[in-house]
Symmetry: C2
Subunit: 785 residues, 2 copies
């Protein structure tokens, strides 16, 4: 391209940028008079000015230049907008390219549409101020900062034709999750994956502070990002024509080297380890092209440009004049035709069809989603004989199922975990695939491979962020994690749940696969690692979210885990949490029974229960509580052969709620049929007892619920001692039954004494021998006879 044609092209591009900036300001300020065809009056201005200008012109600048690259090179780009507060920019650009009006026809490409575009922004019943689910082309909300680059990598995995430019604000770059996510490049296989082009957008300020990286020298930044493995390219300045030239050149260099790396790798024999992928450092003023000063205070290139740079435009004429001059400085008449439509020579700058970033199918992953190919769970079913007579490892069995998932879904499924996949006993997957590893591999390394599909990094944030990006662009996956440490991503879970809630109301967003958690190494089996590793509270956190979105499963053994895991992997638009143990433990249900039980969500275990109306219900949820409950039933039957005991097991925890509260909720009649209206219920629960109370307080028999669970009594000790410390063990459960069946304790005080002595004996033995009593370790369910 000649220098002259480049100059012409960049002049047009500058006009397009001005159009995007104009529309961004209009969204923040105007309710009417969108093209300023009339002098600006107070009533044209929204009564509440909400939105963020500061980051927006830079985002618009990047968007415009990416459009140029797409057209030149016919690329598929997904724009991940880290500065979520730049919502006006994303909306403006997708409107300019026509994507917005296709999705929202009432926001048409004319003056009336522009007026509605402006008014709806940050307006009741309208759209939020962020790059949100409502925003075409977005997979990253960015209201909470830190996850853009993880999302970008997740999107690029197994999408060889995709390049993901990811804009990271210098505020977001201070967060922990973002700081670690630069390493994502070391998990990217240039042959089978697309790539990510990070664009660190330094505008220097946050809400009311400079930023750390914004004040770092170019030399320090160059070293930092070289150290992370990138080749940083710098674009710095504020004069538009110069900046356009710099940016065009930097993107040409970046996309050329991406193309070269991909070409070398894909046409060579061996994927390169980790090429020095390019990244861009863009230093541009915050609030670029906006008011330089307001009321004598510096605004442009300062933190005062963060939100609404000039605030009192309705009340104060001088402010209104600043706004009007600012908007007119973009010369809207040069940009939009008489109908309010972008002029044809500018519209010609945007790509067409699905190449438009607002119309990318990658940004609406349900459009790309293929069903997961799942095997028949009967192929993996564990033969269990009599209930309780055999031992099995639930997660190991599920690992075998997952290995078959890998076999059948070679580019459509990944397993994520923070270095805990083997520890969680999912190792059978390594018969089929390796861990992804692109750094040097030594000859004695095991289960590492360039083409591995198990993603392990010691960062729960990256696991979650990668998986979200992977799902939102149309694929399937599972996150396995120690139960206690999944709290590290509580907040990311929140944001994903919110995303799903909103997308469910948007017809144009097609369903994406559910986000599935398998929490193992759970609270009752972290006896060896101690108190810091013992916390079952994630499910409390999950239960706060909209019932449509969340499911919580506590399978009591291997076959039930198989059903639950298989079920969850086939669902969409949900977040499924499965808590299951990894240690050998008694198996209760054969596959036929497991299916019936899991489909019901909860039920009476007839084979463990007395016939007829019970005197007491021994209820349980979770694998260890189930075992302790059945051991307590053994004790009670030995003590009191005539006591009528009903055993109820709960797999689908939220089915405890009413039908009004949760779609899986049991009806009043169903619930009462299981738990009665007046009999004592001794409930052995995996988590904090209060969760059961919270789920069941509306139930008729709630006043008779006596819940045993985790009481925040942890230690490094034996597995059984963990249950004793929290009174979830067989002895305390049996005591509770005796105490709560009316009259029983009075008639049989010796039983309570005997149980107390067993507890004391346990304490003595375990502190002396460092191991559980043989009668506990070797316990086998005696059955009903």
């Amino acid at each position: 391209m000649t220098q002259e044609s480049l100059t012409n092209e960049l002049e047009l591009l500058d006009k397009y940028w001005r159009a995007a900036n104009y529309l961004s300001v209009g969204q923040i300020y105007l309710m009417s008079n969108p093209l300023l065809r009339n002098p600006l009056l107070p009533e044209h201005i929204k009564p509440r000015l909400l939105g963020h200008w500061g980051t927006t012109p830079g985002l618009n600048f990047i968007y415009a230049h990416l459009n140029r690259i797409i057209r030149q090179r016919d690329l598929d780009l997904l724009y991940v907008c880290g500065p979520g507060h730049g919502g006006p920019g994303m909306v403006a650009n997708t409107w300019l390219e026509g994507s917005y009006s296709e999705v929202y026809p009432h926001i048409s490409e004319d003056e009336a549409g522009m007026q509605r575009l402006f008014k709806q922004f940050s307006f009741p019943g309208g759209i939020p101020s962020h790059a949100a689910p409502e925003t075409p082309g977005s997979i990253n909300e960015g209201g909470e900062l830190g996850y853009s680059l993880s999302h970008a990598f997740g999107a690029a995995f197994d999408h060889p034709d995709l390049i993901v430019p990811c804009v990271i604000g210098d505020g977001e770059a201070e967060t922990g999750p973002l700081a670690a996510s630069w390493h994502g490049i070391k998990f990217l296989n240039a042959r089978r994956d697309g790539t990510v082009l990070p664009i660190l957008h330094l505008n220097g300020y946050k809400i009311a502070n400079p930023t750390i990286l914004g004040r770092s020298s170019d030399e320090d930044l160059k070293q930092l990002f070289s150290g992370y493995g990138y080749e940083p390219l710098f674009v710095c300045g504020h004069e538009p024509a110069d900046m356009h030239r710099q940016m065009a050149k930097a993107l040409d260099v970046a996309f050329t080297s991406i193309a070269e790396f991909q070409d070398e790798t894909r046409n060579g024999s061996e994927p390169m380890a980790v090429p020095r992928w390019p990244m861009i450092v863009l230093r541009s003023p915050k609030g670029w092209t906006g008011p330089k000063e307001v009321d004598g205070n510096k605004v442009e290139d300062f933190w005062r440009a963060h939100q609404v740079p000039v605030a009192a435009c309705r009340e104060d004429e001088s402010h209104r004049l600043i706004l009007e001059n600012w908007m007119r400085s973009y010369q809207p008449d040069e940009l939009f035709d008489i109908s309010g439509r972008l002029k044809p020579e500018l519209r010609a700058l945007v790509p067409v069809g699905n190449k438009r970033m607002g119309s990318s199918p990658y940004a609406n992953g349900g459009r790309l989603r293929r069903e997961l190919r799942t095997p028949d769970i009967y192929d993996f079913a564990l033969e269990i004989g009599q209930p309780g007579s055999t031992s099995g490892q639930a997660t190991e069995l599920f690992g075998r199922y997952l290995s078959e998932i890998f076999r059948r879904n070679q580019d459509n499924f990944r397993l994520f975990g923070p270095d805990e996949t083997a520890s969680n006993r999912l190792s059978p997957v390594f018969d089929v695939t390796d861990r992804t590893w692109m750094e040097p591999i030594k000859d004695y390394d095991e289960q590492l491979g360039r083409d591995g599909r198990v993603m392990e990094i010691l960062s729960e944030h990256q696991c979650q962020g990668w998986l979200e990006g992977y799902l939102l662009t149309g694929r399937h996956g599972l996150f396995n994690c120690y139960e206690a440490f999944i709290h590290i991503v509580d907040s990311m879970f929140n944001q994903h749940a919110k995303w799903l809630k909103v997308t469910r109301k948007l017809g144009w967003r097609k369903p994406v696969s559910s986000l599935n958690y398998l929490l193992s190494s759970h609270v009752w089996r972290q006896d060896h690692n101690g108190y810091s590793h013992q916390d079952p509270g994630f499910i409390d956190h999950v239960a706060n979210k909209k019932a449509d979105i969340v499911r919580i499963y506590l399978p009591p053994d291997a076959n039930t885990l198989l059903w639950v895991g298989d079920h969850c992997l086939r669902t969409w638009d949900r977040i499924n949490v499965i808590v299951a143990g990894k240690q050998p433990s008694p198996q209760w249900l054969d596959m036929d029974s497991a299916i019936v039980h899991c489909e019901a969500g909860m039920g009476v275990w007839e084979w463990a229960s007395s016939a007829g109306e019970p005197d007491v219900i021994m209820a349980c949820a979770g694998d260890v509580p189930t075992m302790e409950t059945l051991a307590a039933v053994d004790l009670l039957r030995a003590y009191l052969p005539d006591l009528r005991i009903r055993v109820v097991n709960v797999v689908d925890l939220l089915a405890m709620q009413t039908q009004e509260q949760h779609p899986h909720g049991k009806s009043e009649a169903e619930f009462d049929a299981l738990f009665t209206c007046d009999k004592p219920v001794i409930f052995a629960f995996h988590g904090y007892p209060s969760l059961i109370h919270r789920l069941t307080y509306q139930r008729n028999n709630h006043r008779n619920f006596h819940v045993h669970g985790f009481n925040e009594e942890g230690a490094t000790t034996t597995p059984f001692d963990m249950t004793v410390l929290n009174e979830l063990d067989r002895y305390h459960l049996a005591q509770a039954a005796i105490i709560h069946v009316p009259g029983l304790a009075d008639r049989h005080p010796e039983l309570l004494d005997d149980l107390q002595e067993r507890i004391a004996e346990h304490h003595r033995y375990v502190r002396e021998n460092g191991d559980d009593l043989p009668e506990v370790k070797n316990w086998i369910w005696k059955g009903t006879e």
Copy 2:
């Protein structure tokens, strides 16, 4: 020092290191025969082998070398041990230096003590496997990884005489929080603060994987850490004598340059901006000096060394022989005298008294803690006139109080926040101090200073980690944060709560100041930022923890916030969560009334209530719910002058629980006196309604509690519309009262219709005008007349 004397010194140091390694292995394996005076038999070996060898020899190596530096330079060092799994090493070293036995006299410095030292480790009733609260010299548990370096910086702030060597494992270095924490160096003022010496300990492997940084080249690491602002020094190898020489030299260089920086700064006129502080990259084999192979599998320098390198020592003679040879390779007879005590020439290598890292008062901050100097809250009290007649901004008033705290506590208090201090309206503090800023400052910057004491970084993880480090070393502080995003540190909160629970049982750990959260910009006042910013669930998470540790306060106005904030800042060993609004809102209680109300925790607002037995209780907790409740009372009085309404406000949320559940819990009689046993309670709650049910399900009148709160209905809209979307507004509350007072709805169906019409009118108005109805915006409490 001559080469020869250095060689002699390092030979002795190597013996000391062997002693520490010997004791570490002994803790993992042995119950008896601690000095191997007899051949090793199965019964000497613990039945359950729990613990982590892999990281330990490196930690011991560092500890030994730091002892040398302390003695040479007479320094105060606090050893922060990031690899928490290296617990055996921390315990071994503090025993060798005598600190351990001083704290735990039964673990004496002789063979019997050694035997108990070994047996207690990871044993029921003993100590956990991590560097835990039980470990002298530790302020960082490290069970959950990511926070060591933040803790180290927090410890160094305002401790000019302290240097904090912080060992970061290469596993931990992959986490997000740790990746961001390297920036801490840019907040350190060499004049008034101590400093941190990060020691990145690359042993190359995690549980079952190589590590990202372990496989990075030295050149990449040099660039990465130079980019973060450090001068990295490398110590790499495996041959002990060579490694001792390298490490001694690196530490000499590092401590010399620290001394020079401090000297220049403290004796110069202006603190240097950010010197290139040293850091050390230590590459040493995982499981160094342990078995090289077991059963033909590589162990040393591989991930198999992570936990217990040779596992079947009780059952398998060949394994037992490996263990015995391994332990004897340290030549215990050369290290310990006949009584089992460390030989005098080795004991001479450790510092004395409080210079021993296990006895550092900095590691037991309660020993250093000075009381916070607090002003009289009456000096800040807001004159409010008639309840509801004036408007005030709660956090702004509290900001004025905090500015006085800063004035009176110039080196003993800091305020932390993720760039939200001004947004949360605490700006009065900037009249007294600045934000800490050590990078370049521009002439137009505001409220930035080298000596600033407000710590702002856009990382909730750093805010929390710094504050924890600051508190655990004896100071006071407050973390202010947007309510929704405090979930980012859910997991750090968990770990700190666990830490406090354990320390409370340890007499030798002196109380530290409480960790105080001020959550503002809360769910009901994030209307402008939208759904992603709306989440009140942190208090649900907090309520799961031990009642001794946690408090939750929801002050309804400015004077109550003042009392609550002042109270919390004067407590110790707790975590206090305060949720309070920042927007102008009606003020209810003068200071006298606020004190009475807050001390009670909850109470009837007589001035808003009818005399005598009520027909309905209108209860509220939180500032916005309180306002909506009083507005609902206004409506109800206008409709139904004879309806007897009682208004109950709750400030101290956990007082809703029973006395058995929480130390602040109200007795049955007290609770029933407020809420009756049979009258409808319309409860307007700040958070998720289920929390109130969970706290009150044991109460007599619980079945009549009708709770309105956040139902996960969020949007970018007006403040009042947020309450309407969630049915927490005055209209829905009034409707609920009419519905639940028996017979009322039947007698007055027109009232329900009228309220429904008001709701519809609100919806119409807000969607048309983008603002709340004037009658809502301008509402003023009418009072009881």
